[in-house]
Amino acid sequence: MQAFTSVRGVIAPLDRANVDTDQIIPKQFLKSIARSGFERGLFFDWRYLPDGRPNPDFVLNAPVYQKAAILVVRQNFGCGSSREHAVWALAQYGFQALIAPKISRENIHIPGFADIFRNNCAKNGILAVELDAPQVDEIFARIERHPGVEATVDLPGQTITLHDDKGRGFSFDIEPSLKKRLLQGLDDIAVTLSHRQAIAAFERRHDVWLPQKNGDRHKCQGFGQE
């Protein structure tokens, strides 16, 4: 996995809640067996008009946001399908950090990001930061005053700085384990494999209830040992 320490770049605003992964990358782009080229499909149905021209009303098509590296969104971003292609599309388009609000009032708690999506970000070295809702409102407002403003998201210091005249920053929380993984760009699989002995010991005592030989002769391909 790619390591993340900090990013400075243009911050683009996508003012919409509950953006699902079908919107982030529509199904026709999921047919690829490659691991690259997904940036073409990012927000495809919003980015392009039916005739294929860029939609001038979509925020990322504005000239100031051409090189955006940070995206600020609304709550429950990345809900729906588990497709990691959504994260690949964001990363390959050039986004390195995402910012979303977590909403807590009375009995309602809405996280900034959906669970599977947040996991997928972590696996791809994208930093998904949650802030309190009023802070995200402030970021949207400051971007509106200074479209194209740059921001810095710094993981070691856990801060976000907007480089506008106000200059006031925000600090954010992150699970220490995730922070460490991102900073080191650890290969998760290698980490798990370092527990080989524990896995082997577990396998000796754990029963998966899978009949090995009987009742297992129906047609299926690709399995050599039957």
Binding site: V87, P111, D115, E203, P211, H218
Partner: protein, 470 residues
Amino acid sequence: MAPKTLFEKIWNRHRVTDLEDGSTLLYIDRHLIHEVTSPQAFEGLRLAGRQVHRPELTFATMDHNIPTENRHDIRDPVSRAQVEALAANCREFGIRLYDLESDKQGIVHIIGPELGLTLPGTTVVCGDSHTSTHGAFGALAYGIGTSEVEHVLATQCLPQTRPKTFRVDFTGHLQPGVSAKDLILKLIGTIGTAGGTGYVLEYGGPAIRALSMEGRMTVCNMSIEAGARAGMIAPDDTTIQYVTTGQRPFAPQGEMLEKAVAVWRSLPSDADAAYDRRITFDASRITPQVTWGTSPGMVTDITGSVPAPDQVPGHSAADIEKSLQYMGLTPGTPMTDIRIDTVFIGSCTNGRIEDLRAAARVLEGRRVAPGVRVLVVPGSQQVLRQAEAEGLHTVFMSAGAQWRQSGCSMCLAMNPDKLSPGERCASTSNRNFEGRQGKGGRTHLVSPQMAAAAAVNGHFVDIRTWPHKE
């Protein structure tokens, strides 16, 4: 011992080791894969020179891209390449594959239970968010991303942080015509599409106990639409009956079964187990549900109407306006006035035999309204054969519906089954997102019986008051 929930019991049984960062390395009993989310995982293995740790615990099928008219004629070269890549990867790594030749092929979440792979007390993962379906058996089952698919292939384990628990009870009994689909839509409408994020849901109460395994799968399937990666229902006689009858080649038998059943009986949550959150519904007051927006939480009673943008709690008026504009709906329109062009009966939510029976009961001896296109897509080849043995396909075809072969089909329209822009669909699937069933397509999520009744009438009707066989 402290009382434990179903979730905690399964979690504890699968803890390989606690990791230093506070997470847990969890063992995975069943790994299901399909053609869309696996190619990059196999590629990752190859690049790193890694093997599949236990190939006998991973099972593959092809479902998302498969045409439902002539399944062998995959015209789209990119779709075909993806299907072929899965076959090649399964051959290379020694993984069982239920391909288009197999009489057991079908939607991954439908064939897992059919084959006896999905068992109480197991952990099940798949690179697909609707893996929550398998929780209906009292399994801990959740969707993962492609990097995690690679992780499971290489290690049969996943590092996980422990989720919180959320108990959802449905007391009382459902009214005739009201189904499992309506229960879960009601829940999502109440807690919102992020209400379950970070939790594992456990469903209980008399209305859940009264459901068949098919109905329970429908409920657990859409847990992800409430934001929860997993939903579960404690195993009982209904569960054990399902697992031990019929042709379930991978279900344990004989002595192994006896041992397993003893464990399964011990799984239900202890009476005074604590949950992080609870909610209770009176099932007898739930009415048939219909979505009106572009998120499954945008749902109302069939007796209701399209809301005004500022009347929807938890959503900004601007978001609702965008949604209504996309759906082509005006606030105040009664749900029963909404006319439809297409009906889709199928998917891993409602593509099982009971769903097809429910739809057939409504369509029997009737005709689909003029101009309405109806697609009935069985969830698997086994469902297809069962339906044909019962003559359901004749009911559908005499009513003017199209009887198709198994696959995901118009649930996500990756194959040729699509809505065209502006086309309005009553769908038994699980997502009414913009463009989900085809760019510009407008989806209303409903139960199979509600979809079938809409097909006959050309608009939504309240199935409770509309004459049909129960």
